[in-house]
Symmetry: C2
Subunit: 352 residues, 2 copies
């Protein structure tokens, strides 16, 4: 998940003064109409496909409801976990290693643990103090690597600065790398004819959202904004595997707006609040907003609220579909982690 | 190297009748003037940089002379190989495994062997019959993996169809994977902050040509045509590492011409003779043509000649620089193989 580290001031799409009230995300009654962009395409045969939730405010504005898709996926996983337990007596297990006392990391780990419990996946957690040595972390990884009841190992990032993140991540057995960050998995993701054992959770969640909403990627222009190892880069590789024509826009790109405006599908993962304005968006485009940026908001009880990379209020007028923040990609990331853990357990036990 | 398997009929840029004579590549006197596209850039500080060779036919047309750059690189390698031998008594060694009787493969292997000899690299060759088993090939790889005098192992592709290419390539020790095709190397190439041990030779040669001709990639629009594992995909990753804004055009792209025309830098690797017409090219663009396509030519003593993916005659009028075919990327591929072998030997012996 891309997240600005510092708390940014309340950011508006434009420099005009903020409206006195924030327009709430209105996830109204679902509609069976598909995106204008895809109206000429045959409806997907996937039984998982759900229709775009039309906003109550207008048929032309559509919200991609990640929360409800993630719920649906978690239900599917729950059923599969229980089928597996009944058939072969195996419960998928996820081990999480957390080092140090970062509050956000602790929250992420707690959420992952809760999500595991909710679908019947066993979760193990090792919480090590901030001043642990790299060797201690590697020892725990080694234990989980050898533990047959553990099918996925997740090292919560960032690690304390005295540790070499690369060393630590490389130590996770590739068969248990549910985060999909191992270079061998990334290499297989990049190569045609190869299959990664795991795909990184956030970009996998983006593509899954597009699939479940019946958005065809084949032959479409796609722009990925951001080229991080955990979201932008693997998202671009995944879109290309779906036969999209992909351009990657990044901090050195001289004309990001012009390039982004050519896209039928935009995935933004930069951690810049409201960077993508309405003028960046081609009418009818589908937008997946991965950014989760905290911005000051005196009207919020917490003093801040979360917004995406995309100026939602402008995007919803131009695009045919947009993910909200929160409630878009966020819930999908954890759902994909559960899915990766389940499929790892299935693979290890040859269970179909 | 991308190469059409079948011999194509003589293909022209347009459907108009062919000229009675073929305009020869004119690699005239070198010029110190840089490309128009890069005239505002500071000259590169690289001591290796060579000026664009101006075509005798007009200052606006420039030929990127891969043959002469490759020669220069081979001279540098010769000097390094001899320095290494004198200093620590080690000669870099490349082992090539050839299976079967494909004439083109035999030619490639012979050329690689000759190139090794010309720079002082020891070359070993194992020529196995077409009906060898995969196990036999793996045995040879295993032997070379353990042989300390071998610093690079190359399995000539394609392998006979009864073998699993993926199995065979995966068996080459990553420290000797001078072809750079191992998924671990590709993964590291894709990831920011990671370094592959080897970069695949042909795309590496493309980028090296751009470097040596002082073509800055940072912030430039680059289009890669083709997404093969051995050229297009790694070329796109390399361009992105150079901070170019990269789009990948492929067989499913609906408007390849329109996208390609936006590029400051084009790398074409599809194996379609004369596919990229003048109308695809933005004035001043730099073009690297990886295609090597045999087309019938009754005027040639062999009955055919080699042409690129790019319609050279049209490109040379529009682009600021173009690689010819042959004499462009081809010689660079072998030079990069020698460079990878040398750096492998240096790495194994901690020689700087």
């Amino acid at each position: 998940m891309v997240s600005s580290i510092s708390l940014l001031f309340f950011t508006h799409c434009h420099s005009s003064p903020p409206p006195s009230t924030t327009r709430p995300l209105q996830m109204g009654p679902t509609s069976l109409r598909f995106l204008a962009l895809h109206s000429s395409l045959a409806p997907s045969s996937s039984s998982h496909q759900v229709p775009i939730a039309a906003m109550a405010t207008g048929a032309s504005s559509k919200v991609i409801d990640g929360k409800s898709v993630a719920k649906q996926i978690r239900d599917e996983i729950t059923a599969e976990v229980s089928r597996m337990r009944e058939a072969i007596g195996v419960t998928p297990g996820l081990a999480v290693i957390l080092v140090g006392d970062r509050k956000d990391s602790a929250t992420y780990v707690r959420n992952k643990k809760k999500a595991c419990e909710s679908v019947g996946i066993k979760s193990l957690e090792e919480h090590l103090p901030e001043d642990s040595t790299e060797e201690e972390v590697l020892n725990y990884i080694s234990g989980y690597n050898d533990d047959p009841s553990v099918h996925g190992i997740l090292v919560q990032l960032p690690l304390p600065s005295h540790m070499n993140e690369q060393n630590v991540l490389n130590d996770v057995r590739i068969e248990k790398d549910v985060d999909g960050f191992h270079p061998l998995n990334i290499g297989r993701l990049a190569m045609r004819g190869r299959e990664p054992l795991f795909v990184p959770c956030t970009p996998k969640g983006c593509i899954e959202l597009l699939h479940r909403y019946g958005v065809s990627m084949k032959g479409k222009r796609a722009v990925v904004i951001g080229r991080s190892n955990i979201v932008g880069m693997p998202a671009a590789l995944l879109l290309q595997r779906e036969d999209a024509t992909v351009s990657v826009v990044h901090s050195r790109t001289s004309n990001p707006e012009e390039i982004t405006r050519q896209a039928d599908i935009i995935i933004s993962a930069v951690g810049q609040p409201n960077m993508v304005k309405g003028s960046w968006i081609k009418p009818g485009a589908v937008i997946i907003d991965v950014g989760i940026n905290p911005v000051e908001d005196p009207n919020s009880p917490r003093g801040y609220r979360l917004i995406g990379d995309v100026c939602y209020e402008e995007a919803i007028k131009v695009a045919s579909a947009v993910t909200p923040v929160p409630g878009g990609v966020g819930p999908m990331t954890i759902a994909m982690l559960l899915q990766n853990t389940l499929s790892s357990a299935k693979r290890m036990h040859n269970f179909d």
